[in-house]
Homo-oligomer: 323 residues x 2
């Protein structure tokens, strides 16, 4: 995705400056905690989508920069709250904020960033972009609650799993791209194409992320591999492995995932089962399908627009993180 | 405040219907948790302010109803997060939601309600009202974090205490009234007057609330008296008592409040000291000053407008809850 990074570099420098400016507050804990998360190894993938969608749609002014910063603030707020909800230990390669400043500060600084996001959207001045991102914020929360209530359900159907990740992850990708297109005055067809591109990319991205939990190493992940397994989180690689190993391993999955009674070596055994029955490959095949669909949506734009191949490369990159 | 209630009744029925409609979600935990809090003994004081400010300013249409519902959602979201942050046990006369559904669900349903608030504001269609309420949401979060970091500071100056309650409580009262005025197309002077009315009323309200923690009974409060003391929260009655009792009681305050090493009878001793040195009366005198200032702001509006005496009565009511 070097091409995209190079194209977007001047805009992304502006987004970074905005982020750093708007995370300030006279209440010192707020910028300290925000800096810990935002100053880390953030990929800034979602604001990049807003910028790329706006420029691909012919945006001439810089109102997309404010929307991009707002998108990153929404994302960071959800990360802060997620880490409290999941009691995660690592985030973006650093100790999770709630372990340093406490869960209360993490919850409240998340609220601060969420509110700041809406202040930035008001500045950007597009009521339609506000509508898209307000709706996305609500859908994300619904997806998170849905995941919370179905987290340990070993019989979770693949369709329900996809519904959850569409809400909790892909919706912000979709809204980030759509809001960029809307702010640039793109046609309804182009706005919809970029929304679908973002959604499919987001699903692919989450599927790869869920796979990496069983095959990655801490250094690359910015979090501990096996976190999902230790939390008993019903992600697709696990769900497929449970279905495919059937009665033979039922006792193991019931104990280690459903009841969360885990012993040394359980994660390695789960990983070997997941790889052995092809559950990891099946998850990555599905991710590749979504990435392919995402690329197809870009046909709505002229091939000569240099942002189009750059966004095609981003879809390829999303699924190349693993194999 | 019977007059205000009667005047606002038709509008408030509409606000209630909107609230009940927009707290729905296909994710069943969300309406269940929201109903627990919203269906309780909610006073709906903040949305009432939005309605009254809009009607006093001559609002002819019903866009203020959506803003009023948004204000109540912002308030409910902050309550859910506050109760997690403070580990409170009671809220609005019921067991706090996080003790039933868990802290993770409370955090995420708070996020849902916050996002829903912004969806309602988008529907209301006033960018200026959006700006006011987005800013207020950010200021509230800053106030909450500030309180968190200064919570056990027995040397907290009265000015800093007032700064904290202006941010965490009075800002939403101010924004609720201002947004109502703005949506009705009031003049800048009238918008500012209603903003100040809301802010002063909010300060008075919080001062009375902080006093009630030392003099009320559970039934009236909807929460346990002594909660602030047991959390070591530096509210004005306590701060004044600490300053006024001086060296004689320093060891007691240090142990019971600063170090939170409390024994049976400590709350009763604190309450007697607070009453004995006049700290409770001083807090209520200050509340009465703010309520008086709030009433003065209404001079910007014609005395013949029936909403004006109704809002004057509301200011009186705010400080009459105790004596």
């Amino acid at each position: 995705m070097d091409g995209l990074m190079e194209l977007a570099q001047p805009d992304m420098a502006g987004v970074d400056a905005l982020i750093r400016d708007r995370m300030q507050s006279p209440v010192a804990v707020i910028p300290a905690l925000a800096e810990h998360l935002i100053g880390g190894s953030a990929k800034r993938l979602r604001p990049l989508l807003t910028i790329a969608a706006a420029r691909l749609s012919g945006a001439q002014d810089d109102s997309c920069l404010k929307l991009a910063a707002a998108v990153e603030f929404i994302h960071t707020a959800t990360l802060l709250h997620d880490d409290v909800v999941d009691s995660s230990e690592l985030r973006r390669g650093k100790v999770a904020a709630h372990l340093i400043w406490g869960a209360p500060a993490s919850v409240l600084v998340g609220d601060f960033l969420f509110a700041r996001a809406f202040e930035l959207m008001v500045e950007a001045g597009s009521m339609q972009a506000l509508e898209i991102l307000a709706r996305a914020s609500r859908v994300i929360a619904e997806g998170e609650v849905l995941q919370l209530t179905r987290a340990h359900d070993l019989n979770l159907h693949q369709d329900m799993y996809l519904e959850i990740i569409k809400a909790k992850t892909a919706e912000l990708f979709a809204a980030a791209a759509e809001a960029g297109a809307v702010s640039a005055g793109a046609s309804p067809e182009q706005c919809l194409a970029l929304r679908k591109y973002g959604q499919d990319l987001g699903v692919a991205f989450q599927l790869v992320d869920d796979s990496l939990d069983y095959s990655g190493v801490s250094k690359d992940l910015g979090k501990n591999p096996g976190d999902d397994f230790r939390e008993g989180k019903a992600t697709l690689p696990l769900l497929l492995a449970i279905a495919r190993t059937g009665a033979a391993e039922k006792a193991f999955w019931d104990r280690a995932v459903a009841r969360l009674e885990q012993a040394d070596g359980d994660f390695e055994r789960a990983r070997d089962l997941i790889t052995g029955v092809g559950a990891l490959d099946a998850t990555l095949d599905l991710a590749a399908d979504y990435a392919g669909k995402a690329k197809g949506e870009l046909a709505e734009f002229p091939a000569g627009n240099s942002w189009r191949p750059a966004l095609e490369d981003l879809a390829d990159f999303a699924v190349s993180r693993l194999r």
